[in-house]
Amino acid sequence: MDDMALGWWGVPLAVLAGAIRVSTPFLFVSLGECLTETGGRVNLGLEGTLVMGAMSGFGIAYLTGSPWLGVLVAGLVGAMLGAVHASLCALPRVNDIALGIAMLMLGTGLAFFLGKPLIQPEAPPLPALDLGWWSDTEQIRSALRVNALFFVGALLAPVLLWALRNTRWGLILRMVGDSAETARAIGYSPDRVRLYATAAGGFLAGVGGSFLSLSYPGSWNEGLSSGQGITAVALVIFARWNPLKCFWASLLFGGASALGPALQSVGVTQGYHLFNAAPYVLTLAIMVMTSTARGKMAGAPGELSVSR
């Protein structure tokens, strides 16, 4: 009996495993939003994009039998929603935040409507890599069965950071985000650059959504996202518009959301409401600790409506 139970070791293990399992959607959405916001726009609609990606990815995987095709279509649907957001924002006197909320409702509503026949079926899941082969403990093996999309996201974060800092298009995007006037003077159209950035951001958010329905928890239903898209948008501010920090922030959030169930399962049952709220408590705590009067918006793109 005792050899099967991990006891207190189960908590750090669950937090680690949870960090890997739960963080992937946060990671993709926050990387996407990071791109969009670097170009000077906020797309709050990514929650809707996430749900839409989850639905369409699941649907395509179910119909074709190929989960990777599902991921691709989820991304394309996300890119389309992003492009709609960007094109409407390009019209005069359109507020990106208000439009984002409209897009959020459109995305979730559309996904619920189109996803009705998809609640019962089961789609082929995305493959997972077995990194725990060295261990004899079933719990460690299962914790280290890491989904392939997690690695894609983990690789993407440093690549994006590098690209934003060192490539020509990274420079253009940052310039558009910091001063649209300058970009215009040099001859770049801020609207077009933002269209690409928002569509790319939507693509990543859609892919993040497909992780929810095709890997963990691995089925389509209407309560699937429970606000993870919005949380991920907030993560970007917390990560100071740095893709690599988005990665760490997503891991932190994933781990924190695993804390509540993990503590209850080892018998720490008092105050589970507080532990279940751990991700939010954590955000508040870190926000309070890291904000100073002087540098509160350090790193924020100058064109962002929140910093303008």
Partner: protein, 372 residues
């Protein structure tokens, strides 16, 4: 400025009243012209969720199969003013004479308001909330599903090797606690060394948290898990994926876990709902509170899965027979809570219908968990 708002508000009210009358008038005529009974079902979620709503939708299809009745269904109606709008339109536009607002939170104040307003329409609400002074055309029904949970506990106890069972629950309300306790008492009646580990997720539908809870429980050595959440799908598929056993809830999830599904506690609305419709059609009065367990056929259990050993089937079947014939009481003393206090004294028994069970605020000995 204030004058303008006052006038427009008054105009708006007038307009609304005219509009409502316009909607109601053709509705009434169609209701009486059609002759056949129109029955409306309102669900809080999606009706094929492998859970709470699917169980009600199964009842709705049984009503549909009766013939001579028209069935309306609406999904994803939140427990807000929205449900009043849905009910209103089912009555006014479609002439519904019998309504099933199935979610627990619909009752107060929404069903109460609508029932007071539409006295000719019969309202059937799942949850047992009717009390003296509520409208005469409102009714409550509920099932003692803890009896089926008790049987699941007995079966789980025979299958577990680690002697640790898991229970993933949404909120610590009396109905949920009753299920947890009945499950634990069933398991511990087979082997008193068994413990039941509870994880509260905080809400009725939290797919990611439910999956996390299942994984954490399995990491702690739990090898049979059951639940009380709206849709057990995620829990059952996660458990099956990790190779442990499950007992279902609300509806049968057997098809999701061909290897690990043992049995489950299910609603039997498909037998209850047609009986209500028959009564309404015959003009008979339905009692304000309809309740029953296995014996009354309001709840049922899933057929045993392949993994259930012969001894478990025998033991569970004999307790099932005791429910059917001898009014077997699950909550028979001495019962202590998990803090060591005596909650039901030795020699005392709280039977199926005992009102004390509906105020349950403890977890029995052997359950690891707390209410706050």
């Amino acid at each position: 400025m204030s004058d303008i708002t006052r006038i427009s508000r008054r105009a708006l009210l007038k307009g609304a009243a005219v509009g409502a009358f316009g909607l109601a008038a053709p509705g009434l005529s169609s209701a009486f012209a059609a002759g056949a009974l129109t029955v409306g079902f309102v669900y809080v979620g999606s009706r094929d969720d492998y859970g709470y709503n699917q169980a009600h939708a199964a009842g709705a299809s049984a009503v549909k199969a009766m013939g001579g009745v028209k069935v309306l269904e609406e999904e994803r109606v939140p427990e807000t003013i929205e449900v009043q709008k849905t009910l209103e339109s089912m009555i006014a536009l479609d002439g519904a004479g019998l309504l099933f607002p199935t979610s627990f939170g619909y009752y107060d104040p929404h069903v109460l308001k609508m029932a007071a307003k539409h006295k000719k329409t019969t309202f059937m609400h799942a949850g047992g909330l009717w009390s003296e002074g509520h409208p005469d055309n409102a009714h409550s029904y509920f099932g003692y599903i803890d009896e089926a949970q008790h049987l699941s506990g007995i079966v789980a106890a025979h299958v577990t090797k680690s002697k640790k069972l898991g229970f993933i629950a949404a909120k610590p309300i009396p109905q949920v606690l009753r299920n947890i306790n009945a499950f634990a008492l069933g398991a511990r009646s087979v082997d008193p060394s068994i413990t039941v580990q509870v994880v509260f997720t905080g809400d009725w539908s939290m797919p990611v948290k439910e999956a996390e809870a299942t994984n954490s429980l399995i990491d702690q050595g739990v090898d049979v898990v059951t639940c009380h959440v709206d849709s057990p799908k995620v829990i059952v598929t996660t458990a099956e994926g990790r190779g442990i056993f499950t007992c279902g809830y609300h509806a049968s999830q057997a098809s999701l876990a061909p290897k690990g599904y043992l049995t489950g506690a299910e609603w039997n609305w498909e037998s209850l709902y047609p009986s209500f419709v028959t009564k309404v059609l015959a003009g008979e009065t339905i009692p304000h509170i309809v309740r029953g367990g296995l014996k009354a056929g309001v709840v049922k259990r899933s057929p045993y899965g392949a993994a259930v050993p012969e001894a478990a089937r025998k033991r569970a079947d004999s307790v099932f027979d005791a429910f059917m014939t001898k009014d077997y009481a699950i909550f028979t003393g001495p019962i202590r809570d998990n803090k060591g206090n005596s909650v039901i004294a030795a020699g005392a028994a709280q039977g199926q219908t005992d009102i004390a069970l509906e105020k349950m605020n403890y977890l029995v000995e052997g359950v690891v968990g707390s209410l706050a």
